[in-house]
């Protein structure tokens, strides 16, 4: 059980940052939450917390200071997936990492599929890139459905893991955009995507995304603000 202080630098709009917030919620870990305005970042943020100037970032340990005044003594960590694993390591009781190494590898492989097959297409779609078609989005959906287990609640079984945490914020934002018809993509692409998902062949995927959106740690950390692309 960690006794060191955790300060999380985050932003409501950002799906990467939400991953970390979900992990902390699953762990029930006490932490200080500091919202970074991505459109107007504080000048101390890059030099003192994260050189890359992105969220999420964690300042771990060191003296108990105000988030706006980070101490050089705390360890600074960044990259959402690394932070999620870090929280899993600090709080094994969170259960976000399967105990079995093979299942753990499955969870990490699922994360790879999200990162390589889903997220890039989502980003293109949301930013109005002409390559971001509903067909491109569906290749991501197919890739994920292909590795979802049959008859299980979540990505690698009935246990909620880093795999689900990695995917949920991205799915939620895509879902929000197309349901509300907002975003830079062409209207007919959004409609075609929604129509395609009505096909019974996507029953497994649809059941899965319903469950991850219903997870308490997801709901408590998702803010229905108009999604920005935070990268």
């Amino acid at each position: 059980m960690a006794q060191e202080q955790i300060t999380l630098y985050t932003a409501k709009v950002c799906p990467y940052a939400q991953r970390t917030e979900i992990a902390l919620a699953e762990a029930g870990a006490p932490f200080k939450r500091y919202e970074i305005d991505l459109g107007n970042k504080p000048e101390w943020y890059a030099p003192k917390v994260n050189r890359a100037s992105k969220v999420p970032a964690i300042a771990y340990g060191g003296p108990d200071v105000a988030p706006e005044n980070p101490s050089p003594e705390s360890t600074k960590l960044a990259e959402s997936l690394i932070l999620v694993e870090f929280i899993g390591d600090l709080y094994p009781s969170s259960n976000i990492l399967p105990a079995d190494p093979v299942l753990r590898a499955k969870a990490r492989f699922f994360v790879e599929i999200v990162s390589t097959k889903f997220s890039p297409n989502f980003m293109k779609f949301a930013s109005g890139n002409p390559e971001g078609t509903h067909a491109a989005l569906l290749t991501g959906v197919d890739a994920i459905q292909d590795i979802l287990p049959d008859g299980a609640k979540y990505a690698v079984g009935d246990q909620y893991t880093i795999a689900d945490i990695a995917f949920a914020p991205f799915w939620a934002r895509l879902n929000l955009l197309v349901q509300k018809g907002i975003g830079a993509y062409k209207d007919e692409e959004g409609k075609s995507f929604l129509k395609a998902l009505e096909d019974p062949k996507y029953a497994k995927f649809n059941g899965y995304v319903q469950r991850i959106l219903a997870r308490q740690s997801f709901k408590s950390t998702f803010h229905e603000v108009r999604p920005l692309l935070c990268r």
Binding site: V102, A105, F109, E112
Partner: protein, 229 residues
């Protein structure tokens, strides 16, 4: 009784090499099987990895001939996923440290070397990438290096395994200028890396390149052309 480990690899693949290095450094018993990627055996795609890529690791199940893989073994793919798997299966090997902050630092190094060096380096060799991006990536990774013999901490970790294939190929292109980049840029890169700005990186690289695990996995003679490049 330990489970069987079989690594399907390609001798020229830097991704396969990462995994082999981790196995050797962990003193893990394994069988390596070189897959002819230009004439893939049918059993490889049907029984080992439907995507047909290496490295693929099989774990557990009966001890069978690598050419007769069992459906009972677990199949693990993606080199960085396999590295984490090995750290989980050999928790006392030091491949990942035990404390959470050190583990995060090792992972940060793996992430940085994958995104900032591995990608740009292989693009550069294929004539698709920029010299400046590669140099920036090396500088970034240098900034993460600690002061000891290893990338992070005082033991060989998956961070060292991850960057080693890149160091080997950097050495080759800087010494031979072989690659699809403009003529002379390989030599130029070598000169820059010998400068004081990159002293820390070069010191680390020289050390890692001396490790016997590396010599076991790399045949300096056969480097180019690479079948899928």
């Amino acid at each position: 009784m330990s489970e069987q480990v079989t690594l399907y690899l390609h001798k020229l693949s830097p991704f396969s090499q990462k995994v082999e290095l981790a196995l050797i450094e962990a003193n893990a018993p394994y069988r390596g099987y070189h897959v002819n990627l230009s004439d893939k055996p049918e059993w490889f795609t049907s029984k080992v990895n439907p995507v047909g890529k290496v490295p693929t690791l099989t774990y557990g199940g009966p001890r069978v001939d690598p050419e007769d893989p069992s459906s009972l073994s677990s199949k693990i793919t993606e080199s960085n996923v396999i590295l984490e798997f090995l750290a989980d299966v050999y928790p006392d090997s030091g491949l990942l440290p035990k404390d959470p902050v050190s583990r995060a630092k090792v992972r940060s190094f793996v992430d940085a070397s994958t995104k900032q060096v591995e990608g740009p380096l292989y693009d550069f060799i294929r004539g698709l990438g920029s010299y400046e991006d590669l140099l920036k990536g090396i500088e970034f990774v240098q900034g993460l290096l600690e002061d000891g013999d290893f990338a992070v901490g005082d033991h060989y970790t998956i961070a060292d395994a991850c960057i080693s294939p890149q160091l080997v190929r950097l050495k080759t292109i800087t010494e031979t200028d072989l690659g699809k980049f403009p003529v002379g840029l390989g030599f130029k890169l070598g000169e820059e890396l010998k400068g004081s700005k990159f002293a820390k990186f070069t010191k680390y690289a020289d050390q890692i390149l001396e490790r016997s695990s590396l010599k076991q996995t790399y045949d300096e003679v056969r480097i180019f052309p690479l079948p899928w490049w």
